[in-house]
Amino acid sequence: MTMISDRQQLSYIASQAADARVNVELETEGMTLNIGPQHPATHGTLRIVCRLDGEQVVWAEPIPGYMHRGYEKLTEVRTFPQVTTLVNRIDWLGSFCNEVPFILAAEQLMDIEAPPRAQHIRTLLFEMGRIANVILFLGDMGVQLGAVTPVFFAFRDREFVLNQIEAATGGRFHPNFDRIGGLKDDLPKGWIDESRAVMRRVRSFCDEMEDLLLGNEIFEARTRGIGVIPREIALQYGLSGANLRASGVDWDLRRDQKLPMAWDKCDWKVWTHPDGDSFARYWVRLQEVRESSKIVDQLLDTMPSGPIMAKVPRIIKVPEGEAWVATENPLGEMGYYVVSKGDLGPFRVKIRSASFSNISVASWVLRGTYVPDVITILASLYFILGDIDR
């Protein structure tokens, strides 16, 4: 049905041919290699079982569930405003971004909209959450490949972004700042100027990473052509975010969806890459952080005045109905399917998290790769355990 670009197809065929050659030359005995649940490459407790033939993976399967917390069940005994505390912990690196789609779904059912200033600050903090999250990936990917320096740079510069989030919301990792109808507080004094300086720092961090990793011969050798996911496979498995855009799909929910947020008021670009390999995924994320910092800069310049909270009843009852709202989170598409029966709390919440789909493709993409590349591919797919296990 879909056309795979020639370049992708060629590199895929070439890798298959290389694998076939190795198999003929070396007749080896199979063995099973267990990676995890505790392994630095799994960013948490994900277990991966690989069956090897020599150094080559012939079969691999990720086994999640070591951290399953049952949030979907817990939401059924919480009230709507209480749910944000739970969903903060799904993708713990970009936690503000987790609150937004849930709050938007509840607002959609109640038929209210946050005032423009609240929408603006929401978008601002959303993009800051993305930067804090993806910066860590940009450094961590280096460490997985044996380059130790980038991760120190990443933690250093991420701290400045986290400080800004903390100054505005009071929470470094779990802001819990979003309310149905608006936000908890307004921005503190002096925050806007400080944020501009932080965004300059973020951009210089991106330049550093470009020099340290993207232009590095070893990095290219370890990532180019490794873990190629063609467009069609990426779509079937529901990959989203940078993983999908690195496979050549030009789709970004911030641009392609109408939500009461401020992305459409900014001038920015969605980057894609045709290759679909680990290098492409890194490259796309690096560009995304740059674009995010641009969005933040523009939002800081155009901040409207006004209230930060719409008029909502003191006890929130959400009218009966169903809503699906998804946003483009740092890891990909994060959505909530909220069913309300007109009660204080939701009747059912289905949490569609990005990493769950992103990592389900692993058994497809790991087949036929070599053991050191397993780590590269897992790092480049970029998942957060809380986002898989929920």
Binding site: M1, T2, P64, G65, H68, G70, E72, K73, L74, E76, V77, Q108, E232, I233, L235, Q236, Y237, G238, V249, W251, R255, D256, Q257, K258, D264, K311, V312, P313, R314, I315, K317, E320, G321, E322, A323, W324, E333, G335, Y337, V339, K341, D343, L344, G345, R348, K350, R352, F356, S357, S360, V361, W364, D389
Partner: protein, 208 residues
């Protein structure tokens, strides 16, 4: 970015084409302006609906698959006093958009990235033998979603190549996301949060 009216038109066109392919198997549709379109298909046409959507209508992107248990929870919101007899609760099954005849419904969403259109699909799951056809042959990515739905709701996906537990330990009994599966932490001792909730003065609830 496309306007809301334009998106709604494209969704209506997609539903129409799906209806033309499925005939009577497309049971009901629901359009919520600006929010989405829901489609319910007959149980025996679930696989066909997936095939038509993916291969003929260009819905290449598989978003998610899950289920809804429409039975109201016999434990309420887990705020009962365990020393008192449990209050009587309604057991009326009242499905949401597009209706339905059964307690369980499987819910899925597919997306067309070229035209920027998404559809939410529902299908009734027979009460006697909760099973529907698997979507794995159509969308390979449905694999994990169906495994999760199976272990959490006990809905069997016929034709799934590898229906094993995903999150839960192998010997786990029961289906945690069913409404009649108790949240034990709330049953063994009263929910401490309840004492914090101060009832609003008469006439103030629901208005500022």
């Amino acid at each position: 970015m496309s306007s809301l009216a334009e998106l709604s038109e494209r969704r209506a066109a997609a539903v129409e084409r799906l209806g033309a392919e499925l005939g009577e198997a497309l049971v009901a549709t629901h359009e919520a302006p600006g929010r989405g379109t829901w489609v319910r298909v007959r149980t025996d046409a679930w696989r066909t609906a997936g095939e038509v959507l993916r291969h003929r209508l260009g819905f290449e992107y598989f978003d998610f698959l899950s289920a809804i248990d429409w039975l109201p929870s016999p434990y309420g919101r887990g705020e009962d006093d365990p020393t008192q007899p449990a209050p009587e609760r309604s057991t009326e099954i009242r499905p949401g958009y597009t209706g339905g005849e059964t307690r369980f419904q499987v819910l899925a969403r597919v997306f067309d990235v070229r035209n920027n259109v998404g559809l939410l699909l529902k299908v009734d799951v027979p009460d006697a033998e909760p099973a529907v056809a698997s979507w794995v042959p159509v969308y390979a990515g449905a694999n994990w979603h169906e495994r999760e739905t199976w272990e959490m709701f006990g809905i069997v996906f016929a034709g799934h190549p590898d229906l094993r537990k995903l999150y839960l330990p192998t010997g786990f009994e029961g289906f945690p996301l069913r409404k009649d599966y108790p949240l034990l932490a709330r049953l063994v001792k009263p929910w401490p949060g309840i004492v914090d909730v101060e009832p609003m003065p008469e006439g103030m609830a629901g208005e500022e």
